[in-house]
């Protein structure tokens, strides 16, 4: 009861502050809106609304300074980044989304939901018609089960407020504020995302899904997720979905930190299908201690520019890291994805498999970093990246960086670029399969070994999505 009162007074105070400034308008459909542009005032606003402790306010302000001081990556990154207008972005909106009716959802989107087989009850939420996904019924039994095992699965804000001792120990430790310009931005204005703690030895059989407790805030642009698997714990987390996300915001910049303590296993599965106007700039990194294992399984579709290089820091002996990634770039899209494997203990091993498909004038880029420093022994990395180019003007790039020192360390990197073989297409056509469908089959075949690593419901949707994306790409 008292915390509610606190909340209310905090928000009244914040609103009063904002009224004094009086230089921006509210969207009536949001309960809280920090307005456009970014300054210390924005951060105070966010902290006040959320009632965050002082250390977090300081953390955010420090991050803002780093963000402002850090130049945009220019020597290697896409020049398109310069087109982000930070002054025109709303950094915080919570509780409530623009009220739309199902009728207002474009037919195209509705049709896609249908063809992807998105369950009826999820469609309205995904289309932005409902602010809350009605999942209580399916979730409540699971929640009870989780609670029994001592699992914490809450929003990052709730994690900060209710579990400060675990939260603060790891928050910002895997990805420090200054890691890059966008991790600094996220650190300054984050809201939403999940906080998960799996106690020692607990092995979850069911994957945890962001779906289950998502609301407008969690769908936000600056999600922050922190997952800690304690010694011997095992878990899988799934985020995103194959449905096009009905978004109007131009910039998404999430930060995800994973901590796998001794012998723990974390699998983090992402499927994202952004609308074609979105900049999706994400920092994801896991810390794997002794005998721990972290796997990033990642599928990127859509967006104007995605920059995402999931990383594993192999801090403990015999730790294992893996990144499996699929990227599909259509006309006007640039998927700039890859992986980083930072070996920091003996006998660690890592594996990267990346497959990209460029359609039309789409551009898929692989960027990688594998590092084995001098004091290490017997580390191994294997990297494979394969690119498939569908049309004559499709583009792909590969830019790996490999640094090897030390004793008994070895790295293998192989990359190839190809198009769909005409003989394959003819063979399938001879069996009566139309050319476009043959093309889809070949493309699905190309990514098949990775798609099967995704949980069943995702892999089925993924295949359908690839079919959809392939439509119209042939003659």
């Amino acid at each position: 009861m008292s915390s509610q009162t606190d909340d209310r007074s905090a928000q009244e105070k914040a609103l009063a502050v904002e009224r004094d400034v009086g230089n921006f308008s509210y969207e009536t459909s949001y309960d809280f809106d920090a307005g456009k542009g970014l300054s210390e005032r924005t951060i105070d606003y966010i902290c006040d609304v959320k009632g965050e402790p002082d250390w977090m306010r300081e953390f955010r302000k420090k991050a803002l300074k780093v963000f402002n001081d850090k130049p945009m990556p220019s020597s290697w990154a896409s020049p398109d980044l310069a087109n982000i207008d930070f002054d025109r972005i709303s950094y915080y909106m919570a509780k409530g989304r623009p009220s739309r009716s199902w009728d207002e959802v474009p037919d195209e989107v509705k049709k896609t939901f249908e063809r992807l087989g998105v369950p009826e009850k999820e469609r309205a939420f995904l289309a932005g018609v409902e602010a809350q996904f009605d999942s209580e019924s399916s979730y409540s039994s699971m929640k009870e089960e989780l609670a029994k095992q001592g699992v914490i699965f809450v929003s990052s804000s709730e994690g900060l407020m209710k579990h400060p001792e675990i939260f603060r120990q790891w928050f910002g430790k895997v990805i420090p504020i200054g890691d890059n310009k966008f991790s600094a931005l996220n650190s300054a204005v984050f809201s939403g995302g999940s906080f998960i703690y799996i106690p020692k030895g607990v092995k979850l059989k069911q994957p945890l899904q962001a779906y289950f407790r998502i609301n407008a805030e969690e769908m936000g642009q600056f999600e922050r997720t922190l997952i800690i698997a304690d010694e011997g714990a095992e878990m899988m987390y799934m985020e995103g979905c194959t449905a096009p996300q009905y978004e109007t915001s131009a910039l998404h910049s999430a930060v995800v930190e994973l901590v796998a303590l001794k012998g723990a296993k974390i699998q983090y599965v992402t499927v994202q299908n952004w609308s074609a106007s979105v900049f999706n700039l994400v920092t994801k990194r896991g810390l794997a201690l002794e005998d721990a294992e972290i796997r990033w399984i990642d599928c990127n579709i859509g967006s104007r520019l995605t920059m995402k290089y999931p990383a594993v820091v192999l801090r403990g002996e015999r730790a294992r890291g893996e990144v499996l990634s699929i990227a599909l770039a259509h006309d006007g899209q640039h998927q700039d994805t890859g992986s980083k494997m930072i070996h920091a203990a003996d006998n660690t091993s890592s594996n990267i498999v990346s497959k990209s498909i460029s359609i039309g004038k789409g551009r898929a880029t692989y960027r990688g970093m594998v590092q084995m420093p001098r004091h290490l022994k017997n580390c191994k990395n294997n990297t494979e990246c394969d690119a498939l180019l569908i049309n004559t003007n499709s583009r792909t790039d590969t830019y790996p960086a490999i640094v090897v020192r030390g004793e008994g360390n070895s790295v293998q990197h192989e990359a190839s670029v190809s198009k769909v073989s005409e003989e394959q297409i003819f063979y399938m056509q001879q069996r009566g399969i139309p050319e476009a469908e043959a093309m889809s089959l070949a493309v699905n075949g190309f990514v098949n070994d990775l798609v099967r690593e995704f949980p069943m419901e995702y892999s089925v949707e993924l295949r359908r999505l690839i079919d959809l994306e392939m439509e119209g790409s042939v003659g």
Partner: protein, 252 residues
């Protein structure tokens, strides 16, 4: 109901291979086409199956009355023409089960029919058992890592599942040991009946010991130079292709 090929002329990269080729195959018949290497046997198969490298410069091919020249390869296939490849292609990542199912679905889409997954697998397993293809092959990628014999059996499996009205076997026997040859022949014999016409292209008489043809044609210089019954194959085996060249070389 027949496949009628009239005055078909075909070239690859400006070089003419088939010249005014004529052949009529009725459903229920088995025709063998024999001849020395480079005489246009495979060209005939590829041209009918609308391979993009082959240009038809003249003539027609009517499949049960419908012109197939000029159609896309998949359209020809859906009309009922099946080609067993001399060198079946590897398709990584596409499982046999999904592949054959996609091919069947493409046909059903046109006829508006449907089939259940259970019925499909039942039919698939039955055919696989008949061809001695182990069950676990269903989840393997089409032809990837298969031995020569396994690839050919995979092709015959597809034929059995797709039930074409005309099937052309393009040197399916090449590179097969005797056991694989027998399995392939059994597959064909099993399908023999009033519904399907076969064209068996082969260099050797060997396969014809297992599949008895109704007609044997000798091809030379891009056309058929001699036709006869099953005994013609034996005659060829005995006299060799040098005999054909000597006898018909002047005509070409």
């Amino acid at each position: 109901m027949s496949l009628n090929i009239n005055n078909l002329s075909v070239s690859i990269a400006e070089r003419q291979i088939l010249k005014d080729f004529n052949l009529s195959v009725s459903r229920g018949e088995v025709h063998a086409i024999m001849g020395p290497n480079g005489t246009g046997k495979s060209t005939l198969a590829k041209a009918l199956a609308a391979h993009p490298d082959y240009t038809v410069t003249g003539g027609t091919a009517l499949l049960d009355g419908a012109e197939i020249i000029g159609l896309e390869p998949d359209a020809v296939a859906r009309l009922g023409l099946f080609m067993a490849f001399q060198y079946p292609v590897e398709i990584p990542g596409v499982s046999i089960a999904n592949f054959i199912r996609a091919a069947l679905t493409a046909r059903l889409k046109e006829s508006g029919g449907d089939f259940s997954a259970t019925a499909y697998y039942k039919a698939l397993y039955a055919q696989m058992d008949a061809l001695k293809i182990p069950r676990e092959f269903t989840s393997r990628s089409v032809n990837v890592g298969f031995s020569g014999g396994e690839k050919k059996r995979c092709d015959i499996l597809q034929m059995a599942m797709l039930k074409p009205s005309y099937a052309i076997l393009d040197e399916t026997d090449s590179g097969l040991d005797i056991d694989a040859l027998r399995i392939v022949a059994d597959g064909v014999n099993h399908m023999r009946g009033p519904g399907t016409g076969f064209v068996i292209i082969t260099h050797y008489q060997r396969l014809l010991n297992y599949i008895k043809p109704d007609y044997v044609h000798v091809m030379y210089g891009g056309r058929i130079v001699k036709s006869g019954g099953a005994e013609l194959a034996l005659e060829l085996e005995e006299k060799g292709y040098g005999w054909v060249e000597k006898e018909f070389g002047v005509l070409v």
